[in-house]
């Protein structure tokens, strides 16, 4: 049954929710090199020194959403004798990532100003 709520307006919002953050992290991981789903989850965990541990089941709906928006592309490749779907960043994904970085920095600066840090 549809639950009633106002439409999402995240495109215009100057802040990022946790979903937007996961999207940004995925794009940032893929900026370095193409990866498959499991390696993306591992990279996020490793680079954040274990602090960021998103529930990995939600990774694929997010990856597929990014793919549908044309921000990443995927293709099946053989890794160690097994078929894996590898994701790579597109030009449009790179542009979105750079924009997301700017938004994120603004958000951090704003929160820091409120907390009285790094002014």
């Amino acid at each position: 049954m549809p639950r009633f709520a106002m439409p999402r307006i995240s495109i215009y919002a100057p802040y990022m929710n946790s979903r937007d953050q996961l999207r940004m992290l995925i794009l940032a991981v893929l900026e370095r090199q193409p990866e498959h789903g499991y390696a993306i989850a591992q990279a996020i965990k490793t680079r954040s020194e274990g602090l960021l541990t998103a529930k990995e089941g939600t990774l694929y709906p997010t990856l597929h959403g990014l793919e549908a928006e044309g921000l990443i592309q995927s293709q099946e490749t053989e890794v160690a004798g097994r078929m894996r779907r590898e994701y790579r960043l597109t030009e449009s994904g790179l542009t979105t990532l750079n924009r997301a970085r700017g938004t994120w920095r603004k958000q951090i600066r704003a929160i820091g100003a409120v907390l009285g840090e790094g002014a």
Partner: protein
């Protein structure tokens, strides 16, 4: 096995057209975790709540029921173009007979509504993309249009009966739902309909 139960719950009711891809990706992910030495319970804990994942997947992809609904449709491209072209032809004909536009405005509007309604039943990707575009962005235009007509009616300008437009209201309802994707978009995302060539 706990992971099999998790997979069954996470992929519950997902359409057969998309399920194999999702299942293959989740199985590869689970294999990776096993190779890392994680136990079944740890794997399930890291994957998260299967019900939440299932809800998230059903928001993006067709459910088995929705796929059946789409398969049950009769897909004919003329269903889009005939009401639109027909209503425009009638409008031009009436204009040639010098019938005032404010009297016959409902003819092309009705044609457009019929075209949109039947447009959801075509595999003509151009038409389908137009329907999706209108469904997603046209709601705001639709509401403004209704409000404008209502205002004109109150001001007693033109021969407008807003009650005729009431059938349009249900089409605006998806604006207030949490699910941002239309059935057609889910069908494209699930691979049931081909992606439009860019």
């Amino acid at each position: 096995m706990k992971t099999d139960i998790w997979l069954a719950k996470a992929l519950d009711k997902i359409a057969p057209c998309v399920r194999p891809r999702l299942e293959a990706e989740y199985r590869a992910h689970i294999d990776g975790m096993r190779e890392e030495g994680l136990s079944e319970s740890e794997i399930v804990a890291q994957l998260g709540n299967a019900k939440t994942v299932n809800e998230s997947l059903l928001r993006q992809y067709l459910s088995a029921y929705e796929q059946k609904v789409l398969e049950g449709r009769s897909w004919k491209p003329w269903r889009v173009w005939l009401p639109l072209g027909g209503s425009l032809a009638i409008t031009v004909f009436l204009l040639l007979l010098e019938v005032p536009l404010q009297t016959i405005w409902a003819v092309p509007a009705f044609g457009l509504i019929c075209s949109l309604f039947f447009g959801q039943r075509t595999k003509n990707m151009g038409a389908l993309q137009a329907v999706i575009w209108l469904e997603r962005r046209g709601r705001f235009v639709g509401i403004s249009f209704l409000l404008l007509l209502q205002a004109l009616s109150w001001l007693e300008l033109g021969h407008i009966q807003p009650s005729l437009l009431m059938p349009m209201l249900p089409s605006l309802m998806p604006m207030f739902t949490k699910n941002p994707l239309t059935l057609e978009e889910k069908a494209i995302r699930s691979g049931w309909l081909p992606k439009a060539k860019s």
